[in-house]
């Protein structure tokens, strides 16, 4: 994070941010320009409403969910990241919702796109994020009985897995 202050913030001119802002009327959203896309941050409680609005808007028409994942920012919490695309207008958008580290709940996006199903299952088992209202919250890649370990979190170590198998070390991972 130390280098960010010195890099100039890229301008949002010429991007689709104005239209996105208009479509998300009523929802407090902020935007920044990343390397390729515009990243829109929406508060957690309104993210599904915002996604629905983005899909329904005529000029934006984000009918295609490209990817849904989480990023673990350690003390600052977990970001849920949605990458959207419009097959009609051929533009992209990245939507982020920030989750506080002790409050890892967010509404499911399967009501907006059915294709969010497996992404949310994987994010739930890898990060411990609970997607409320998900139709099928079983584990996807992890074994069915390992629902208390969240491997992609930063505090889950990588090297000690070999020690775990056969040893039964307590993990100390918060629920």
């Amino acid at each position: 994070m130390t280098n960010e202050d010195s890099a100039p913030a890229r301008s949002l001119d010429g991007t689709i941010w104005p239209q996105v802002d208009r479509a998300l009327s009523g929802i407090t959203a902020s935007a920044e320009r990343a390397v390729l896309d515009v990243i829109v941050s929406i508060p957690r409680d309104e993210v599904v409403r915002g996604l629905k609005a983005l899909k329904a808007d005529e000029a934006l028409a984000f009918d295609y969910l490209r990817c849904l994942t989480c990023v673990d920012n350690e003390e600052e919490g977990i970001d849920v990241v949605y990458h959207l695309y419009s097959t009609k207008h051929h533009h992209n958008l990245t939507v982020k919702a920030h989750l506080a580290p002790d409050d890892l709940f967010v509404d499911t996006a399967t009501t907006v796109w059915r294709g969010a199903n497996w992404y949310e299952r994987e994010a739930a088992e890898m990060f411990g994020v609970r997607f409320r209202g998900h139709p099928d919250p079983r584990t996807l890649l992890m074994p069915e009985d390992m629902t208390d370990t969240f491997p992609l979190r930063k505090d889950h170590p990588l090297a000690e897995i070999e020690v775990l198998q056969g040893e039964g070390i307590a993990w100390g991972v918060e629920e």
């Binding site: 994070m1 130390t2 280098n3 960010e4 890099a7 990343a34 390397v35 390729l36 896309d37 990243i39 009918d63 295609y64 969910l65 490209r66 990817c67 994942t69 990023v71 673990d72 990241v81 990458h83 097959t87 051929h90 992209n92 990245t94 796109w113 059915r114 294709g115 969010a116 199903n117 497996w118 584990t139 996807l140 890649l141 992890m142 074994p143 491997p151 992609l152 889950h156 990588l158």
Partner: protein, 376 residues
């Protein structure tokens, strides 16, 4: 799952659960599919994945930007160059590196040849699924071997190439590259014609694959499918054309699009894509000029500025995306591999319900899954 039948006696009709896999000749890789079958009609499909999960995303967080390329090969192990390409393009986008022209052209050639070899593999495996056991397989693999011979000459490896680097290529291609590519293209042209003649107009094949496994365009978009699955349903979305990377906007090619969305359409789309790939490679070879393959000044240790990027390329199976978050340093903070097969498999249930058990195998085959990238 029980269906009560009205009659004098108390009958309880249950669906049979047929378990296919993870060891099964028809599931391409370690994939498990539980079919709830009523007689011969499929009522429900429950896919189970994760047998090949290796924790790749976590591993990639510990590997720096050159080491990470090796893992990309092992995810999409049939279209390796496309996977490596996404990764190195992500690093280049974060670090704002300009890749020399010659490297870009060679990358394009190799990616398209890889698309050819992956689709040959598909024709062989799909022919086996539909019952032409052996004939389609051996024919297709013969030409795939020609392509893999070329790759072995360039990279030294038959399957796990690790040839792309952020900034360009690892080393220069062989001296007789042009002749070899020309030879391989001739073989591929003949190969496409042979496979086409053997299978595409075969009456039994048409009877087996037409109007089977149909998915409509709206459903396909809603589920997030990509690649030949999406294009077979009529949606003309191809990352090479809509968001061109490398030099795809400077070559002329067509995007084949199906009309019904059944298994036959996906087959035809892939065969046509093979022909277009040959066309692209020819144009690239004509434009290839001598020059450097890496920028002059490349730092020994690659450190990316903080930022994030989502790079997408058109792998043979669909859109292969890399979402890389970097917080400075020489390793990615988060690497998410958006694999096409993972998303396409979600649509399997929609496609299969209502079809016969024998068709379930064909529908799975037409999705052309690679478990390495599904499970990572």
């Amino acid at each position: 799952m029980t269906n009560a039948v009205q009659s004098d006696h108390d009958f309880e009709v249950q669906d049979i659960m047929i378990n296919m896999g993870p060891q099964h000749p028809a599931t391409h890789g370690v994939f498990r599919m539980v079919l709830a079958v009523d007689g011969e009609i499929v009522r429900d499909v429950i896919p189970h994945i994760g047998y090949m999960h290796r924790g790749g995303e976590k591993l990639s967080e510990t590997m720096d930007f050159r080491q990470g390329i090796g893992f990309m090969d092992r995810t999409e192990y049939l279209a390796q160059f496309n996977a490596e390409l996404s990764y190195v393009m992500a690093v280049e986008a974060l670090m704002d590196i300009q890749v020399p022209e010659r490297a870009q052209w060679i990358r394009m050639i190799l990616c398209e040849l890889n698309r050819l070899s992956s689709h040959f593999m598909f024709t062989g495996a799909f022919g086996t699924d539909s019952g032409v056991f052996g004939t389609a397989f051996t024919y297709a693999f013969r030409w795939r071997e020609e392509i893999m011979d070329l790759f072995e000459e360039i990279t030294g490896d038959r399957l796990m190439y690790a040839y792309f680097r952020p900034g360009g290529l690892a080393w220069e291609v062989t001296d007789n590259f042009a002749q070899r590519v020309k030879y391989v293209l001739d073989q591929c042209r003949q190969g496409i014609k042979d496979v086409d003649n053997l299978i595409t107009n075969n009456e039994v094949f048409k009877a087996r694959t037409q109007n089977v496994g149909i998915i409509s365009a709206e459903d396909a978009i809603d589920w997030g499918t990509t690649g030949p699955v999406l294009r077979g349903s009529g949606v003309p979305f191809d990352v090479r054309r809509d968001e061109p990377y490398l030099f795809y906007d400077q070559v002329d090619f067509d995007v084949p699009v199906g009309q019904v969305g059944d298994v036959y359409d996906r087959w035809c789309v892939r065969i046509e894509e093979m022909r277009q790939s040959v066309r692209i490679v020819e144009q690239c070879m004509a434009k290839l000029q001598p020059g450097p393959i890496m920028p002059e000044r490349m730092p020994r240790m690659l450190r990316t500025p903080p930022g994030e990027v989502y790079i997408r390329t058109e792998a043979p199976r669909g859109e292969y995306g890399i979402y890389m978050v970097s917080k400075g340093g020489n390793r990615p903070h988060r690497l998410k591999i958006r694999s096409a097969c993972f998303t396409n498999l979600q649509a399997l249930k929609d496609m299969s319900v209502g079809n016969y058990v024998a068709d379930a195998v064909l529908i799975l085959g037409s999705l052309d899954i690679v478990l390495g990238e599904t499970d990572r």
